[in-house]
Symmetry: C2
Subunit: 260 residues, 2 copies
């Protein structure tokens, strides 16, 4: 694959990490657009690229346009720019391919299924890259590009991608919030939350070898009603934690029963 000249529309977490992976694969980001010129400049600097906050200044002849903005903003972008004869992708989980007008010759989706924070380095070779395109040639083009960045490239259509994104919200965002609650409970007792790290790591590692139902441990799966009651008593000052404790314990017990 030749070295691509790429225009990046967006400067958030996904745009940042994806563009660095593209750079590492020897492609060139030539422009970075963001509504905030400051944000555009910050990312453009990493690529020696031009920073823009006006869509009218986008070059016409890039090899690929990557739209990596919030879901709502994608529609605004595609209604303001004529992508008819360009190659264009967006990077969103929950936005279907058909957000692109039908007359666009090469439209696609390039969805990295991972959680990105600016402060974290990511080993992009392990990030599942989910590809969709409106024609077989562009699908092949995107697949080839994706394989330069990651060992895990999959064709996923818009319908499935919605559910994939949804599953990620449970496995990442909600999990992360449980980490917050667990840490909060410890901080209240002046216990350093770092004591959780080995448990968090093992819980995550375990499901690569066992199914979550096989891996389950703790009072709920044992239906240890005495421990459950004790725990609920400890949570009286945080009724929202009590509520969620009840929900999970009930669900875990139900699942363990239906699994026996």
């Amino acid at each position: 694959m030749k070295k691509l000249k790429i225009v990046l529309i967006g400067s958030g977490n996904v745009a940042t990490h994806l563009s660095m992976a593209l750079k590492n694969a020897q492609h060139q980001i030539i422009q970075v657009f963001s509504r905030s010129l400051e944000n555009a400049e910050k990312l453009a600097k990493k690529h020696n690229a031009q920073a823009l906050n006006q869509l009218s200044e986008l070059v016409e002849d890039a090899d690929l346009y990557i739209i990596s903005v919030s879901d709502n903003a994608i529609l605004k972008i595609v209604s303001q720019i004529d992508f008819t004869n360009k190659k264009v992708v967006h990077t969103a989980g929950s936005v279907p391919l058909n957000i692109f007008k039908e007359n666009i010759k090469n439209a696609g989706v390039f969805y990295p299924f991972q959680t990105f924070s600016k402060e974290r380095e990511i080993n992009f070779s392990q990030v599942p890259l989910c590809i969709e395109a409106n024609n077989p040639d562009f699908e092949q083009f995107l697949t080839n590009l994706a394989k330069q960045l990651s060992e895990n490239v999959q064709l996923i259509n818009s319908e499935k991608r919605k559910y994939l994104h949804l599953s990620g919200v449970f496995a990442c965002n909600f999990v992360n919030h449980l980490y917050h609650i667990a840490g909060n409970i410890l901080e209240q007792q002046n216990i350093n939350p770092k004591i959780l790290f080995p448990l968090i790591k093992e819980t995550a590692a375990k499901v690569e070898k066992l199914t979550p139902l096989q891996a389950q441990t703790g009072p709920a799966v044992r239906n240890d009603t005495e421990s459950l009651k004790k725990h609920l008593d400890l949570l009286t000052s945080t009724p929202e934690y009590q509520e969620i404790y009840k929900w999970f314990s009930e669900q875990i017990f139900i699942k363990s029963q239906s699994n026996n």
Copy 2:
């Protein structure tokens, strides 16, 4: 520390993993008790130990007695055996030290803060071992022993240990149930749940470097109400998932606001 002769009361996940770690540290399990002789035999075999299902057959002169049974069963054990002149510990998070009678000279707690499944090998050197004892000498004895097994030994009293155990239920058991839900959503769409592994791993790794509130991503923290609505629509056939989706999204948004 001399090679200890240890009696193990219990044959579950904690008993199994802890006893193997003790064996690796050159201590000797001499007896394994379980209500089920079959279970006792299974674990005793790994130690060339005697398997028992009668408490009356326990030897009197072991260097340490480890009670590693369900919370409810601990009380039965301590009321049936005279530990007055023995060294004894239990391994439970939610059971206080004072479950042991006051006349026992050396009573303690040896609580490994980790999730154990029989099918999983554990690097015990990374498992936080939480120690409590009813006198300084025994505390030192248990600390020395613990340090042979793990690099992470902490003194945690009964009150704090309750909360520690509770935090683990959130960070492990409930997290694991979210992995189950995420996998279930994907299976319904014929997507292999393995696609979740890099996301699960990175989410777990991230909180070692960022606080969970800093690490948070996804539609709820962005208050992306359109995505939230779309996701709830995808969950109409599983009202319990809808319910929990709403709870987490609301909580994540509230926390992100109070954190700004």
